[in-house]
Symmetry: C2
Subunit: 323 residues, 2 copies
């Protein structure tokens, strides 16, 4: 499938032991090498086996550092299976002239579904109600506290890419009122644009974070933004934990500065601040927004399509621009 009759390029795959969904898809078209760190360190494995690997498929959030890349002298292409690529040292990749691809839109509908699921779960207190019934308290103590109405809520979306747009489309059907903040106004969007997140927070009942984590967006939700959102305000985060100043968020939730939060991501995963475990107004999810059986098939196909395109000199499906 590649240059004339040469053997297909060697593709290195790094993945958690249980996530085998990619192996067969890639091996259909390429020689593959799956990292095995059961008896040696990853750098050692790479040095001994991967010197001829021309592409590296990273499943999960392995930190790809300059040191790691130094063990892959033939590398040309880095295929990430996530949308966010904050685990990749982009400067190091640029120095090495590596081409990078990400998951593109493979996860957008699943992440948007999860965002809306978290929003409904917080406002209507679904996991808290579920705990109430399971503990037998309904029969013992009677009615549970009322939830908050979803229809008519003003929802501010931070980052109106494919995920943010899908969230907006879904919430419109609940008669929510949508506005957004992003680096620049989207000419094609019918929603109200806010150039800064502080005024977005002030004018909305819910903030949904769908943007990528960069130097500019790190701790974009700080105490001031939460105070602006207010005591009935809710934050949903399906982006990255680092978008929120997590320590301040915990304080704001405990003190009632904001009303609740639905969180799929955290600053130091899988560590989650224990103060959150006792709060009924938060819903916690273990970075699962992207993960359904269906989305893994999608992402394997996109990874394969990017690999095939790269080695046939055709345009990539989901290239990442490195500034």
């Amino acid at each position: 499938m590649t240059e004339s009759s040469d053997p297909p390029p060697l593709v290195l795959i790094h993945r958690p032991p249980s996530l085998t969904f990619m192996d067969e898809t890639i091996s259909r078209e390429f020689r593959t090498l799956i990292t095995d760190t059961s008896s040696e360190s990853l750098p050692s494995f790479l040095s001994r086996h991967a010197s001829s690997a021309r592409a590296f498929v990273v499943v999960g959030r392995l930190p790809v550092t300059e040191e790691l890349l130094s063990h892959l002298p033939s590398l040309q292409l880095l295929v990430c299976t996530s949308v966010g690529i904050d685990h990749i040292d982009l400067a190091a990749c640029k120095r090495r002239c590596l081409v990078i691809t990400n998951a593109g839109n493979a996860f957008s509908d699943d992440v948007a579904d999860c965002a809306v699921g978290l929003l409904l779960s917080v406002l209507r207190r679904i996991p808290a109600a579920d705990r109430y019934v399971r503990s037998g308290n309904w029969a013992k103590f009677g009615d549970f506290q009322l939830g908050s109405k979803v229809s008519g809520k003003r929802v501010g979306i931070v980052g109106l890419g494919s995920i943010g747009s899908f969230v907006a489309k879904r919430l419109e059907s609940f008669d929510c009122i949508i506005s957004y903040n992003s680096r620049s106004r989207k000419q094609s969007s019918p929603y109200r644009y806010y150039p800064d997140i502080l005024s977005l927070a002030a004018d909305n009942d819910v903030l949904v974070l769908c943007c990528s984590l960069t130097d500019e967006t790190h701790h974009i939700v700080n105490r001031e933004v939460m105070e602006s959102l207010g005591k009935d305000g809710v934050i949903v985060n399906v982006g990255r934990g680092g978008l929120i100043d997590e320590k301040e968020m915990v304080k704001c939730l405990v003190e009632g500065v904001i009303g609740g939060a639905g969180l799929d991501v955290f600053e130091n995963e899988p560590a989650v601040p224990e103060e959150l475990f006792g709060l009924d107004n938060v819903v916690l999810s273990p970075h699962l927004a992207v993960a359904t059986a269906g989305s893994l098939d999608n992402v394997a196909e996109i990874a394969l399509a990017n690999l095939k395109a790269f080695f046939s000199n055709r345009p990539l499906l989901s290239p990442v621009q490195v500034d």
Copy 2:
């Protein structure tokens, strides 16, 4: 506001002690009498105080029986604040020529929001994931099991009234494929119609029950329907517990005949089968679909509007036809 200069009619209100939301609204236009059963039984209270009551506002699911009605000789109008009226002895009301109103569409958006919230919660395992994080298991044991994709799911709605239509509208925005079963085909609906629930179950991934409980719909979801829905199938019930053969449903969930359930209603509320408490594939809610702060305001306004219309001989807003 009524017949010439007569005093306004006496309206009897029965409600749980904490649900005071109706009192002020109704007293704006009528004389009101709130039942007080702190020191005597309800029949005794009614006999002593309510013989001149011409309307009876029932907040909650008080069984309105022939015996109860016998203590209200002046009664003309029964105002229910729920949509379903299976707690009312309709035959007895008919014999007494009582006019009945219900909550109309006051709750439709809240119930639809809850149905979609339960659907997302079951498919994406949101409460189970929340338990996993809160228990500290994420940090200890790593990734949680994958959820199931929502987009593209085939959803069969049982009962395409205002609630069912709102559920359909919401799920269309998730790219779900909608079909429905109801007593008769809705000419205005774009969705595929199934005249029987068995074939609806066979052709769909999810059933959402939004119909009212009648003799015809009692146990409409029996073992055969669940077998037809299949091992990955999910049931969401925001109608009434009696729509499902609950004993069989518990067996089907335990045995894996169906894949999961999101339940806001149960056959013997507030009793819930304890076998469900240990299952991760069910989400349990204490009959809360209708209850948000916003919907209570709605229902108070609708109750008042029905009372005013009745005593001015104008058309009722949400009359219930008693066959």
